[in-house]
Symmetry: D2
């Protein structure tokens, strides 16, 4: 298999760390064992857990004010794929990539597919882009795409989404994620109902183009780029659209897309209940769609979300099979490092949520023992599952200390040589 | 007809003010006339516009920290009705009252109905109370009512709502508003899905008890009294519940029950579109469910909400017939004054929204002329419709200057004598 | 020493759990030892860490909508003290109580002091109450206390605060915490500047009455009970007031008193920098001043706050000696359980923050290595310090499993008998 | 004087509208006259009121996702100046421009000054830019400017600000506005206190370079571009910095830079009280720093801010002389139209605030008559002052209907020819 990092390098580094890891792992095994918990089940679960990396997340992100690029950034989807492979080789939990079109469009998708196969990387949910005009585009998305009052803009957006499906099919993906920037900046600018009706009508045409084994996932967002209203502003509009469109359409939750103080884990529960949870864009945020590293600010919230997900799994909730993706903007860190750490942070939340004793919890809930219910969750959250995650990586030949290995190879300096930058080139997706 | 304020008093005061009013009215008529607008249409609309007063709003409100009661507060529903009549006599736009049970329960509803008939006051949406335990209540709502894990608490809540319907029928009302405080304060305390399922199951039983010409309105609220999760936390859960329950169930919007920054007018539009807008609890707020006087902080937001309502009327949207109620907590003002002013402020928003030239607005929207669309709304909002509102009151024999008349009669001092307060009595609804 | 729980009971329960605790403790000692960290230093720090319990937190809290009291609630400060002793006996980290007047006023403070001495409980910051009117109060706080336009109300508030100092002196306390509910519900109701000037002028008189070894702590709050403006609305107004009043006046941070999304740890840093951090009211919140259990929702935020506190300690920042208090409202749990768990959660944050390698962190900060800086904090946060906290309790003869012991003695049932409730009694502080 | 729009065109259009305007004006004069108010005083005040236009606001704004430029955008400061003159010729209330460097840097400032003099446009507060790296910049602002850990970056930022002062002096400006993007995206990334100390130290050097008749204005902002912490995150840090730096340093309020729900008018009052209000960046927002058109969403909030400003004027508050600037991002409108309308909306708030009867208001405040105080403000707000604003424009030879005139000249089409765009050119300031 194609690799970007020598296996032997990882192996050597791992050997240095293994004794300490084994010691911590055994101590944890003993502690969990006292409660009748077999640590191996959790390590296996950690090995199985995979989360997709966003192709666009491999470049340095920015804001409307500035972007401060890193040296050696990828210039195209092949180079992004290289970086994604580094992430997967080190983390062991990111075996797929979510592409974004037209940013990742290539002339020959079979070449791209062959390369990704060689890396052992799969392609998952395909993202369309109707929030930017492309050079030479004959009609604009300035006033919306799917919900534009102009038929020509809507048609262009619809066709682009159908194209994305086709690209995705060539890559072996099986879902389309639709996020639109449609909305308004002024009261009165847009007729809310008519705009939503146009959106639904356009989406019907995309839905009609879905292959039988595909799903379509709708993303809601409170604001940005529109600052007064957004067509799919919250999970309410999202689920109503998904219900309108049909069973292959579901809702996707981006953690940074909600109003302040929103209880996101509750929204996750509602979407599960109504069989409409399509997937996640994981990230963290303090103010808006900050796109910070997953779990870097609110690790307990991320745990509570996984508490809902693991609970649905446990209850074998019907039509429950969400896709997990990262969606972050790395403005001040090396994107490779952020994506590695973030993937592991999401995995950490998953394993902690698995540690919750569900039957005990149900008992406390039934008897309204708020204190013990709360402590049951906290007990699981407080367990330091680091050894489980590290052991899972070790067993998959990924790195016990992925950042350490990554820093040892001075990847960016090498890439800076391999990837000379055309100074006139614009970014290929920085959001 | 029974009156609390001498007609002659109002009439005398009005005569003092009429000349100036006529002068302002004529000037406005001339100005509107230039745009082909007939002021009389708007004055008639103002005369027709009515909004219900909440019986519980006639007492001084408070917070968990304190309540600072006013002298001469009403001690029971008959006295609340007296105050509501004062409000209606002066404002001319509050010809109905929304009662709250058990606070307003009486032994003989026919007596109450007869009194209200004498005042010319109608009874509209009946509110149930399952967020407080009543003295001697055999099972508690501490851990929820409709969604409680205990069958006995759910049954009590269901029966109470069925009782409310019966009381309402005796009073001639035809809708039931259900707000529950159910929720949780701790992560894990409540199983979100199971709680919502129990809620829906309980509500089905209430729905089944609705007379054929009744509606049921569900109120959502982000937080308070529960501070981690609420069963009907937002319009998403609200509309899904209403859709589940059936066509007689609709959603009610309380302006203070949303997350910070929420675009409420958009939610109103969505509920209209999906034929689920049941009604409103009008108030204003800056931080949470502050229950401040309607339009006292965000008059333009209130106008934008009415812009949606008038637009739905104009488009003859199907199943559109929302009920309008005030729901405020008057902590530092005389409730009678606040309710008069607030009713007129809501009426003001309605008349301004009527002034919007809809066809022009549609044209700007269609051509994405954000600036002119925005200005079309602002043009209507900027019109000072005070003379229209005052003339409507004058023509209905209400007061041109309602606060002036009210203050002239020293009502509270009189009531302080007529309504001696049992020092041990607890409040009869202060929320 | 007076005890509410038999020492032997705690001892017996501890013996059952000690072997497992020792095993977890040793494993953690070994793990930390590998990084050159001596676990004993942290256990000693945990033993020393103490946080005050609010007397008013021992009763069931409530909201403006309802209060659902528990059986066996304390009826007066002596009974509250009993409960506080239970909390301290079990947690080992709450050796002081913060009283609230007039709620905790007694005729003979020497008797109260003697009782608390017998329990080994100290009295810390004294809280005044000028947000409620007391029965028979000759002038009202309805329109404010320290900032009221009426001299009589201001004088009453000033005198009450001076009285509180005197009560506190009898109890051996040495600081006064001043939180006022002053503010407004309507634009225009209050002249912001004049109100603040009156506040400062009143506070000067209280400041003048401070004994030489006392401090005064000002609490800011964004909203509630006032819903449009609050006189000390944020840390900006707070620190300006504290600077105006003098060196003995400092600012107190209640975690639930800020705007949505506020970075509270940064405010803590600013107050430290300007030598004005007086202390904390710990609790957690999602929406407003929810007064939920400390660390129950945002444990990482609490850790980040302690990261600032430990950092100030480490840098030996001048005039840094904040007081720690809990301030929570326990609406659905047994207050004793919530206070035990919350005190330990605060202690947990402190110990985790102590684990941060400050010199490494400074190095990452200096070189703008955002990733490693972030991971340095996360590394400390991820350590499960439960064994350290439990061992500290064990060594202090407190309970390894405090909730387990508490539940085993059926305290509330006993108290329900010992504390017969006058059905006409009102609450003695529920906020 | 140099003009971009023929005087005769404006004059002709005005004549068409004058009769109606006169009629509305006279009606308003009569109405106000009844209350003893002389309309002429207000019209004169409107004529005097001027607000600065931001040079960077003349280009189409955008978000990190996209920018949809308009045809005929200005390519440099001379062309921006042309557009600003159009705005002033039509609105009559924007006789100054606030420049931004290095965006507006020219080789020969005397040429620029001569041109602006010919237009009758003054230069006011100079803005520095240390939130972007310029091509070829030897050291980066990626990790901050004034507070960067690297001396070289701090020195560069200091020197740039000193340069800006020099440019400003050549243009006749007399204040420097400093907004920095400094902050962090990860907990731990930045040592809050050390960063603030570095900021203060750098600012001291800029302060030292201020000419004797200059002021320096600091801008605070809650978030963006930094998403975890910002060095000057709120007015608290702002005023402490301004107090530290000295009397020539004051705080500047941008309406979009606060936490959700913040009472901004209260902050304005506090800054006035402490003699530190330097000026404003006016705009409107719903979610964050949305930079929407002033007053387009929250006209009453804007009025309440002016209520504070007019009150300070009325009370002849010491050291009160704030500067007024617009700071908006025009993503979906023609910037010229937005700036015209916004300037007039700010003027509208000012005139309405002047209409408040201050002595009556003080009386209501003193007697805690919350209702009448609230109504006093609303009475002024409800007056439609459109005729006053239009008459002021008419008397200044500006346009009664500025948007109408602007649209009649098809300015953008002409500019599209006059300003051919280099397709490789990047934006010259879009934020």
């Amino acid at each position: 298999m194609l690799r970007r990092i020598e296996s032997s390098l990882i192996k050597d580094k791992n050997e240095e760390l293994y004794t300490d890891l084994k010691s911590d792992y055994d101590a944890l095994a003993e502690k969990l064992g006292r409660d009748g918990i077999d640590i191996e089940k959790f390590t296996e679960a950690a090995e199985k857990f995979q989360i997709a990396v966003p192709s666009w997340g491999t470049g340095t992100g920015g804001t409307r004010f500035a972007r401060f690029p890193l040296k050696g950034e990828p210039r195209n989807i092949f180079e992004k794929l290289e970086d994604c492979s580094v992430i997967n080789e080190l983390s062991g939990c990111t075996d797929s990539v979510s592409p974004h079109f037209p940013w990742d469009k290539v002339d020959d998708f079979s070449e791209l597919k062959q390369t990704s196969d060689e890396y052992g990387i799969k392609w998952v949910s395909v993202n369309s882009n109707t929030f930017q005009d492309q050079p030479g585009q004959e009609t604009s998305y300035k006033y919306g795409s799917m919900s534009n009052t102009q038929q020509s803009s809507r048609d262009l957006a619809i066709q682009h989404n159908l194209d994305c499906i086709e690209y995705g099919q060539q890559l072996g993906a099986n879902s389309l994620t639709v996020w639109v920037g449609d909305g308004s900046n002024h009261p009165g600018q847009q007729h809310f109902q008519k705009a939503f009706e146009r959106y639904l009508s356009s989406m019907e045409k995309v839905y009609a183009g879905l292959p039988s084994d595909w799903e379509m996932h709708i993303e809601h967002k409170m604001f940005e780029p529109a600052f007064y209203s957004t067509v799919i502003q919250d999970w309410g509009s999202n689920i109503l659209a998904a219900m309108h469109l049909g069973p292959k359409c579901k809702s996707l939750v981006d953690l940074g897309h909600h109003a302040p103080n929103t209880n996101i884990e509750m929204i996750v529960s509602r979407l599960i209940q109504f069989k409409k949870l399509g997937g996640f864009h994981f990230n963290d945020s303090k103010y808006g769609d900050d796109d910070l590293d997953s779990g870097s600010l609110h690790p307990y919230q991320q745990f509570l979300i996984f508490n809902e997900l693991v609970d649905a799994e446990y209850r074998q909730q019907a039509e429950f099979d969400p896709s997990y993706m990262l969606d972050q903007s790395h403005n001040v860190t090396d994107p490779i490092e952020s994506l590695i750490v973030s993937a592991i942070e999401v995995q950490r939340s998953y394993i902690k949520a698995l540690l919750v004793d569900r039957e005990s919890l149900y008992g406390y809930q039934e008897s309204n023992d708020a204190m013990m219910a709360s402590l049951e969750l906290k007990k699981a959250f407080n367990v330091d599952v680091t050894p489980i995650l590290a052991m899972a990586r070790y067993r998959q030949s990924a790195a016990i200390n992925p950042i350490g290995v990554y820093r040892s190879i001075d990847y960016r300096t090498r890439m800076d040589k391999d990837r000379p930058r055309d100074p006139n080139a614009s970014g290929s997706g920085i959001v």
